[in-house]
Subunit: 253 residues, 2 copies
């Protein structure tokens, strides 16, 4: 399945660099040599992915010097990357003590879901009013893929399509700054969401809600779209809260 994700991920305001034409006299570089990303960027991305996917669980210590060897770079690049993650609250760095993957506070998750709900409701209302027909067609295509994923029981693929669906709403209106905030929120929420995915019944329920949202947008009914999105994300929030009741010790507080 090829759901091309347009790269909305990386934050920050930097121009890409020209390809540096590998120094040739230095280390061969375990780090994908030909790239316009700085080394700190690459380590940042790798660490972020590991944290979001749960490969690095909460409380996991971050071994900086180990990462230096792992990626073949100096401590500075690793430190820069870790500092960025600390700025995003994905890791906590305690000076002179160590750094570790941040724990998950229930209150934080609730707040992030609240932010997400507020923003996406706002966005979907604007979508119903102003989204171009070409973008509605893309939504339609995405919905078809979602149906296919549900039919074939492809949990992971459906999750990707879910993300893509919500991204389409943002991109269709060129709301890049809003999209950045939502991406940031999603990285935090996904850290816990992946724990409650493996229930197949949820998939078709989510599909139905997506279809409801899609229909209200296609019908140009802003109020109904806002309502549909609100109930959709409200259910996700409630499921998260139900999960935290069943696994209270996974979180902090």
């Amino acid at each position: 399945m090829s759901t091309r994700m347009v790269g909305v991920t990386a934050g920050g305001a930097k121009r890409p660099r020209k390809s540096p034409a590998n120094p040739l006299g230095k280390s061969p570089g375990r780090i994908h040599a030909m790239s316009s990303e700085s080394k700190a960027d690459q380590i940042y991305g790798a660490l972020k992915l590991a944290i979001v996917t749960g490969e690095l669980p909460p409380e996991a210590p971050i071994d900086k010097i180990g990462l230096c060897a792992r990626f073949g770079v100096s401590r500075l690049s690793v430190t820069t990357a870790v500092n960025r993650l600390a700025f995003e609250r994905l890791v906590v760095v305690e000076p002179q003590r160590g750094s570790y993957v941040s724990r998950i506070r229930i209150s934080d998750v609730r707040q992030w879901m609240m932010v997400r709900r507020a923003l996406e409701v706002e966005v979907v209302g604007a979508c119903a009013q102003h989204l171009g027909d070409d973008w509605i067609e893309r939504l339609d295509r995405n919905m078809a893929y979602q149906q296919t994923a549900v039919k074939s029981g492809d949990l992971d693929g459906f999750h990707q399509l879910d993300i893509a669906f919500h991204r389409l709403l943002i991109e269709g209106l060129s709301l890049d700054r809003v999209g950045e905030i939502l991406e940031s929120v999603r990285t935090h929420v996904d850290r816990t969401r992946r724990l409650l995915l493996p229930e197949p019944g949820r998939m078709s329920a989510t599909l139905k809600e997506h279809q409801a949202i899609y229909r209200t947008i296609a019908d140009r009914d802003a109020k109904a779209a806002a309502r549909a999105m609100h109930t959709h994300l409200d259910r996700v929030l409630r499921e998260l809260e139900a999960f935290q009741d069943r696994h209270p010790n996974f979180f902090t507080d």
Copy 2:
């Protein structure tokens, strides 16, 4: 006027450090020596303030080595601070070329206002439902100060009280994560807002809207509170758009 601001400003996830007991053999340090902040933190704060207040206007180049001399630190601390600002999109750093204060895109401002409206409407609704009486009393006190500021025509003081008013809503519900997002948004919006302040008529209009918001909260009327906040921030947005019509060349696009 002593409107104690509780420090919600600085983002990031770091534990504060103990006081380092100045090395005594090193430079006296132009940088407020006794502090638990790292040098990068302090430069970050100073630069951010300079950018938000307009002391460093858009397009202004950032002279890193000049800042090193100015603050008596090495390039690394300055670079770290600038990188953080780049992550927040307050500056743009072009590798091997230079760094400068980011321009202001009209589309960005609109999006940030949209985010702010969506979030504050959500928050104020929750405030009307759950805010404790002690916090409502603080709001009341803040309103009294606002009246005083308007009567005495203290524009700058009123602006601070305006900010404090909105912060109280966040702090009263302990929505720290939401508060961080709003602080970040406000940083960007304030960069342009300060250009349209000096119209005295606006101050009393804003005061009236704040009073309307306060009353709906005190009355525990969530719907009315949401409406009042919506109209309040909608007016701010419209004034920003009116401003951009009168000064089109100040922005990008």
